[in-house]
Amino acid sequence: MTLKLIPTQMAWRAAQDIADGAYVNLGIGFPELVAKFQPPGREAIFHTENGILGFGQAPAPGHEDWDLINAGKKAVTLKPGTAFFHHADSFAMVRGGLLDVAILGAYEVAETGDLANWSTGPKGVPAVGGAMDLVHGAKRVAVMTDHVTKDGKPKLLERCTLPLTGVGCVTRVYSSLAVIDIIAGRFVLREKLPFLTYDALQAMTGAILHLDGPVADLAVPEL
């Protein structure tokens, strides 16, 4: 029985929603895993803020070229059709509305679609990167995150408590327990792990999970 999805499984689930031909930006960390799980027959073009469109998978260890990295500073590879460009062009692609999907990590997501993912408050070192640009530029902004924090507190809330990355920008959450849409200021539950009752999931969520039609099983292969 799957108690919660591991990051590769969340990435697999997020990848199922990426259409053939989509331009996609993946946030630093776990969202980078989405690139591994493109469904057969579909070709997405991945964009990285540091100036590459259409890069390939990670190279074998020992074959890294450190001039060829993604936004997470991890080595990637060339493939036919790769393009390089400078940072102003890179963010013209972002703000210009040319990316179909951005999948980002989150500290908190609110039912309003607000996202907090750059600052844990005055005691840490804040780091925003390209997230604030992506949330206003991509046509669809999704979040991939554990459903609760390491100490069990909800990450899906009525309102964010941490500094915002963007206002009203997130439309879908791929959590370790469920797939949830954000529609008109409400969380709408679409899929949940089969063993998990609605009440148990609601108890781990900091805002009301609305129902709008049947809730499907969140079915993900072992990875």
Binding site: N50, D67, L68, K73, H86, H87, A88, M132, D133
Partner: protein, 244 residues
Amino acid sequence: MDKTLPDLATAVAGIRDGMTVMIGGFGGSGAPIELIHALIDRFIATGHPTGLTLVNNNAGNGHVGLAALIEAGMVAKLICSFPRSADPVVFTERYLAGQIELELVPQGTLAERIRAGGAGIPAFFTPTSYGTDLAIGKPVEVFDGRPYVQERWLKADCALVKAHLGDRLGNLTYRMAARNFGPLMCMAAATTIVQVSRIVAPGGIDPEAVITPGIFVQGLVEVANPAQEEALNRANARYPEVAA
């Protein structure tokens, strides 16, 4: 016209106390390690330059390059988008101790502020950061029904950039994703100094392939086989090297 410089020490000789210096690179890719280390050498020998304001996407990694510049105590302020890295201990300790000022700028806004600085555009409006703490104190205007935040250009006294090929006129190519902020910073600095892997004769770069036209470059120095920050960090390198 010949913009080539004889050595790294000459290349960094014009950087004075308190200057704003843009340093190219995204993480290690495009980081002009040899120019940065030459600047540290000058500081160790003369006590200058110090009190620098640096502009870079990041805040250094490990104990080489940008991190070593901060570790040497030469940096008063950093303007960057993402001051975290695999080993950010140098910046983190100084920042949390209040010894270095941080101006955090969204990455696309940082790029566009630099581009605007180079292009003679003193301010522009962007949707980025609207409604967040990073927009506090900045004018907001609504265009076609959507709110935008005003941002100001960013210029520098000097830029230190790494490119691939260069000619004596200053025309440049870059290698793969090492291009990142390089072309923008070359435009935005009063004096742009570039390290290139190879200096070629004029005509040695196909005009169709020139990424930075030479007008944006004031000096260039050849550094064959430049160090990669990531490779140095994997070897636990420090600069300057500590005697065993």
